[in-house]
Symmetry: D2
Subunit: 140 residues, 4 copies
């Protein structure tokens, strides 16, 4: 089951065309990921270990516009986890429906604050990701 | 030759880690596209014809972080133009160098304000895109 | 009693110094006002009547920084309502405490979409503001 | 003479009503202040000395909306400098005209990174502010 974060579209989210701006969706997705990691992951362990997430690619499809007052759900789950990077699957849809507004694959690495470099996703680090990995899912 | 827009990294562009936030890059890219269309395209013709651009996909790679005071160049050019959609190639690099900070393919359609639907990129619409098409380039 | 909206500080809210950026607080305040008007006001009546709120002044004090993970409450209430403008009082504080992070007076007028001009806050318009006026309070 | 920064209004600056959003103006003002300090101040000396600016109050009047394509000038100058705080005067106007879009007084203190506390604006710190002080002006 994907983690769900809810956001209501406000006037300051909109742009020229009266729908949510492209860049703003990336903040919605980031909100979803923070909420997901907080609930299912080991954020404290990550910080204590001196690790951080670093996004290396976002591939986002904008399916249909969202307007003022729309209630959105951001569904977040782990799509895959390799030795060097993982992919988070995120779907933005109209709350309580199957209508997809946007969907994205977000590829991340784990960076050591000490070296500033990506670390292999094994050993201690893999352990810190276990909670998210248990959450792996198909399509949100 | 790609169109070039320059942006200097300020404190309000940064996030938790002291580097430019992922979502902010999408605003940098949008700034680059507006500037490009304004200079090379026929924005007046577009508006007069009741057409607008609508982004349907952004695929962005984050190559290395940008920090306070960094001077960035956004290079924008047309990568391809089909019958239903086009792809804009955008590269963010450290000004005056070949160091790539981020790079993105931005896929767009042209929407008619009257119908709210994507229109074929032919006839009048294709003509309005001619200035951008002349600007087609390899890799920025 | 002031209306309360809760926001948790995320990485994308922060700036150079690791605390919530000045401009972002204005989005927090706007979120609070939308939520307040939605709950206590007559937003449907406003839109039906062709009216909109327009902010003419914001006077905000930044009392102490907010950091990653802080849970904030935005308290929103009507401070005063004159014949031409009103003042919304908003206080951002650490959730469940009296610690004030920021506080603002937001002065607004009501604008007619037809004329684009501010209208007197009387008659029909005053009636639409009744729900908010009932909510007038001292200090949030 | 006030320092001048130019910004062109883009689609992502706008909100629900098709004009520049209230919060976005604070980013425009911050852009103006960074540019001003960079040109007239001693940013390097500030950072070397472990000092930073901290905004404690912003009082902004929104005079008239700005729309897509408008070219704006942000005029920035020092309004006053006391022993504990200073006030920066910023005016946003339509480029090349006297038409004021917004105007703000921004009150700041200087904070020591070591102590996290505001320091008196005297001695070494006052010296670092000399370039900005020379720039003091009436109304931009």
């Amino acid at each position: 089951m994907a983690h769900v974060t809810r956001i209501k579209v406000r006037g300051y989210h909109l742009d020229l065309y009266g729908h949510v701006n492209n860049a703003r969706y990336l903040e919605f997705l980031e909100e979803g990921r923070w909420s997901w990691v907080e609930e299912r992951g080991d954020l404290a362990g990550f910080m204590k270990g001196g690790y951080g997430f670093s996004v290396v690619n976002i591939n986002i499809n904008y399916r249909r516009p969202a307007f003022l007052g729309d209630e959105l759900e951001i569904l977040t789950s782990l799509k895959s986890l390799g030795n060097r990077s993982g992919v988070v699957r995120q779907v933005v849809r109209m709350a309580g429906t199957d209508t997809v507004v946007a969907e994205a694959d977000v590829t991340f690495v784990v960076v050591s604050a000490k070296t500033g470099r990506a670390v292999p996703l094994e050993g201690e680090v893999r352990g810190l990701l276990a909670g998210l990995e248990a959450d792996r899912s198909g399509e949100g």
